[in-house]
């Protein structure tokens, strides 16, 4: 691979053969052979059904799979070798490349964006290789707003279990909404679509050698779109399948979400300070998006980790939090599990104080983010308690309350932020 280029010679050769396209669907992978075959077949079916005349391509950016993932993606092609029995007007290329460096979704996205730019794709979608509940309709719902309604970014809305995505529900969504006046349910999407306009703009940003260019990049894309006042919409896709893999590492997740959001405060001060017109993000096809089936939850462990964190990290919290907030949290640590409540306003205040601490680098910034994790467990526990018997509507209402708490506490963030002057 030539210096400074993220695309290998071999991949460029394949892109030459693909030529200009109307639609590009990117699939970032890393040893996903278990599920990726089903996903790309679903993508292909969606392209054939809803965009039969469009020039399309499936691009797989792989982090170095050793389980045959790439071959499964290539087999989704429709050409002289594959798929000749399918009712397709056109050739469909499904090509794969391995990007350099350690596996990272951001690097994969970078590769996909570069390919989209070279191929002059008018609309792009990215789907997760683990989206086993992907249906052909997802492709239509993601791409139709870009192609036919001029949207720049289409984010998904899923029907999820009420206890799924706790970090998104309790931190990422409300914080994004409060800071940037844009209400998007999945600001850190794994299935989404964007226009060539936004894609090119994002590709040319100077973030690819930094942490946000490797992890959490999708969230950064959402923030860029919001800050750049691009046209954003949301599409209801359907049920998001529960992942079979163990839950993700919470510290890593916190870095990719809270860490990124805190970082964005420094990068986009003009966007979140001051009053701004809310950026609309209409949702197409949205329906009640919460499922209620029973789920195994270890509340005791959450409570224990919260109290443990409060006690063990006292000196760390002392340097991050204000006195009253710290005292309130310490008081909560002594409350038994069945009475435990970390209310929305306190949680919002805590998050904002962490944001300020991150901004001032009172301790290492990564340490600030890590320190938030045990406190988040407390908030997660509260969310679980509050919504244990809740109906769909009640869950939505509780979620709305959290968002409103973040919006209400925003002035405290502004005070603290400017107070350093």
């Amino acid at each position: 691979m030539p210096d400074g280029s993220i695309l290998s010679d071999e991949f460029i050769r394949e892109l030459i053969n693909v030529g200009e396209v109307d639609i590009l669907v990117g699939v970032p992978t890393q040893n996903d052979a278990r599920t990726v075959g089903q996903v790309v077949q679903g993508v292909r079916a969606g392209l054939l059904k809803y965009f039969p005349r469009a020039r399309s391509v499936i691009i797989n950016a792989d982090g170095g799979s050793r389980d045959g993932t790439r071959d499964l993606v290539r087999a989704a092609s429709i050409n002289d070798t594959f798929g000749s029995n399918l009712p397709a007007l056109r050739t469909l290329h499904s090509i794969s490349t391995q990007y350099e460096g350690p596996p990272a979704d951001g690097t994969a996205l970078h590769t996909i964006l570069a390919a989209a730019d070279l191929l002059q794709a008018k609309a792009c979608a990215v789907v997760s290789p683990g989206s086993t509940s992907l249906e052909p309709e997802w492709i239509e719902r993601l791409l139709h707003p870009v192609i036919r309604e001029g949207m720049d970014l289409v984010l998904p809305v899923y029907r999820r279990h009420k206890f799924d995505g706790l970090l998104i529900r309790n931190l990422v969504y409300p914080l994004t909404r409060a800071l940037y006046a844009c209400s998007v349910r999945e600001p850190y999407p794994s299935d989404y679509a964007f226009s060539s306009n936004l894609g090119t703009n994002f590709l040319n940003q100077d973030l690819w050698t930094q942490e946000q260019g490797r992890h959490g990049t999708e969230l950064w894309l959402t923030l860029s779109a919001i800050v750049g006042r691009y046209k954003i919409s949301q599409s209801f896709l359907g049920t998001r399948g529960r992942l079979e893999a163990p839950p993700s590492d919470l510290v890593k997740a916190m870095r990719e979400t809270a860490g990124l959001l805190f970082c964005s405060l420094d990068c986009y001060p003009g966007a979140w300070k001051g009053a701004h017109e809310p950026l609309p993000a209409p949702c197409s096809g949205c329906q009640p998006a919460v499922s209620l089936e029973p789920m195994r939850v270890n509340r005791k462990r959450l409570h224990q980790m919260f109290t443990f964190g409060i006690s063990q990290l006292e000196p760390v919290f002392a340097s991050i939090l204000s006195g009253p907030t710290h005292e309130e949290l310490k008081r909560l640590a002594s409350v038994p599990e069945n009475e435990f409540v970390l209310p929305g306003p306190l949680w919002a205040r805590t998050v904002y104080e962490f944001a300020v601490a991150y901004h001032r680098a009172v301790i290492g910034r990564d340490h600030v983010v890590q320190a938030l994790v045990p406190l988040f467990r407390g908030r997660a526990l509260t969310f679980l308690q509050e919504n244990r018997e809740a109906s769909e509507t009640e869950v939505e209402n509780n979620l709305e309350k959290v968002c409103q708490a973040f919006e209400a506490e925003k002035p405290s963030l502004l005070q603290l932020w400017d107070g350093e002057k």
Partner: protein
């Protein structure tokens, strides 16, 4: 007179399809005629074609442009006399041009004496020469071909008070091929023309000859028996003559019409034609390679007939609904262009009068395995007039020069059988033979060159075909081979420049010689052979070892 001993002459032919009526009027009555056609044989000879296919010139009420025949052994007085035809035939043969005439065996005009007799009474000897029924429910499920005008395949005859079967217009009753006397008479009709020296017959509407209950009345075994019989008789008494099938069917169904080399010599490859147009519009070779992959092998003495356009609509019967909708949306945005599951347009307007695309399509036509047919007027890029009814828009008078009636006829313009094209783009002032003869780089001059190069080798007509499948799907590439001669054909179906790498390892060490300019291209090595191509460009390379 071309040698009739070369029994495979049709494999090397380049056929020119012409309607006598549309070509040249020598008598001044507003209709083209045989004397006029004979006068233009030099033009055809210069063009380079070596066979002419005449559309029906028999006496006819002309309600289906001559395909409704009312006398099989004569010439429509509009076009001249039988003597005129004989003179034309001789003149064509003198120039090495063979003559293919129509023979409509499936039906006649309702004005034909045979039908008049048949309908006159149920006991008439010719009664059973047609297909009669008391009800219109027989042969249920048989598709209607002329969907835009016909509601049923049965028509009520008030004279004989029975229904008669017609697969086409209701004024074209189907002949009954189960009747031995009818079969014998048809053979006599064919003999009449063969004795005169006609080289071949294009048998129109051949799949529909025989009907049977419980079938779709197409491609029945009995139909094949009829053809085998006619072929056997013709081979026995008139060796070297040719039968060409008009059967709009899928390749697998068409295969049967070649039999074991004992039915038709040639058949039109209908499904390929719309896919060539599709491929150019999609900028993707997939439709073309797919249909050719589905095309079965045919006996060595048989040949496909390839064409881009003809006198009928660009048929979309043999495509999927998805493909048909695409073709309509891309090539017939104006609904008036659509007719009978097809598009009634000429070549140049279909291709937006884009000279590069016209060349590309003709290049593919001349280089794919089969015998190419050029529809009259397409060699100069004539346009169409969709405001004329039915398919008459693609049957307007030939445009010879920018003068009176485009040089077609000395008659008053109002007398012409059809209005001549007038619009500024395709009208006879802009598009005519005379002006194109003056310029080296006109479409006409280019077509002449193309045909000449095509005829310079037998590979195109008789050689095998093997697709290369370069990763760039916008490029259609194949190798034609006959004996020691190998030709590489590469077509860029895209409107933009393309780079393509071809796997020519099997020809390592050979050089490529481009056939138009005869320039040498680099030697084939181990690496994929890189070619860069302009929009809609094509190459014909001889692969030579020196």
């Amino acid at each position: 007179m071309p040698s009739q001993q070369d029994s495979l002459w049709y494999k090397d032919a380049v056929i020119y399809q012409v309607h006598v009526r549309s070509f040249f009027d020598s008598s001044g009555d507003g209709n083209g005629d045989f004397r006029g056609l004979a006068q233009k044989l030099d033009y055809l000879h210069e063009l380079g074609i070596n066979a002419v296919w005449l559309m029906p010139f028999f006496p006819s009420p002309l309600r289906d442009d001559g395909y409704d025949i009312s006398d099989y052994r004569s010439v429509n007085p509009l076009y001249g006399t039988l003597e005129d035809f004989r003179s034309f035939l001789d003149a064509a043969h003198k120039r090495g041009i063979r003559v293919i005439i129509e023979m409509v065996l499936n039906h006649t005009s309702d004005q034909h004496p045979w039908f008049q007799e048949s309908r006159s009474s149920r006991s008439n000897p010719r009664r059973e020469w047609y297909v009669w029924s008391d009800t219109d429910t027989k042969y249920k499920g048989t598709r209607i071909i002329f969907l835009d005008t016909e509601l049923s395949n049965w028509a009520w005859d008030p004279v004989s008070k029975q229904y008669y079967w017609h697969r086409f217009f209701s004024h074209q009753p189907d002949l009954n091929w189960d009747n031995p006397a009818l079969r014998e008479e048809i053979w006599n009709v064919m003999k009449f023309w063969l004795d005169m020296g006609v080289d071949a017959f294009r048998l129109d509407a051949i799949p529909y000859l025989v009907e049977r209950e419980g079938t779709n009345c197409e491609n029945l075994p009995e139909t094949h028996e009829v053809i085998k019989d006619l072929r056997a008789r013709m081979d026995g008494e008139y060796p070297g003559r040719m039968l060409l099938a008009e059967a709009n069917q899928w390749p697998a169904d068409l295969r049967a019409y070649f039999g074991n080399g004992d039915e038709f010599h040639m058949a039109f490859h209908f499904p390929l034609m719309p896919r060539m147009f599709m491929g150019v519009k999609l900028e993707d070779r997939k439709p073309i390679t797919e249909i050719l992959k589905q095309t079965p092998e045919i006996p060595d003495n048989c040949q496909w007939c390839l064409f881009l356009r003809n006198h009928d609509e660009l048929t979309l019967e043999m495509v999927t609904d998805l493909e048909r909708d695409y073709m309509y949306d891309e090539y017939a945005k104006d609904k008036a262009m659509r007719l009978n599951l097809g598009i009634r347009r000429r070549l140049a307007p279909l291709l937006d009068n884009d000279r590069r695309r016209i060349e590309l399509m003709n290049g593919m036509l001349m280089s794919m395995p089969g015998t190419p047919i050029i529809y009259y007027g397409d060699e100069i890029g004539m346009g169409d007039n969709i405001n004329l009814g039915d398919r008459n828009g693609v049957r307007t008078p030939m445009q010879w020069d920018g003068g009176w009636n485009g040089g077609f006829s000395p008659a008053d313009p109002e007398m012409l059988y059809s209005p001549i094209m007038l619009n500024p783009v395709y009208g006879y002032h802009s598009v005519n033979v005379q002006s194109q003869k003056r310029f080296e780089h006109s479409l006409l001059a280019w077509m002449r060159r193309l045909i000449k190069i095509r005829k310079s080798t037998s590979v195109f007509g008789r050689g095998s075909m093997q697709f290369l499948y370069p990763a760039n799907h916008r490029v259609l590439a194949y190798v034609r081979k006959l004996g020691a001669e190998t030709i590489l054909v590469v077509n860029n179906l895209s409107s933009s420049a393309q780079a393509v790498e071809l796997d020519l390892k099997a020809y390592k060490g050979n050089i490529l010689v481009e056939m138009f300019g005869r320039n040498v291209f680099p030697r084939i090595g181990d690496l994929p052979y890189l070619l860069t191509m302009g929009p809609y460009q094509f190459y014909w390379f001889k692969i030579r070892r020196i």
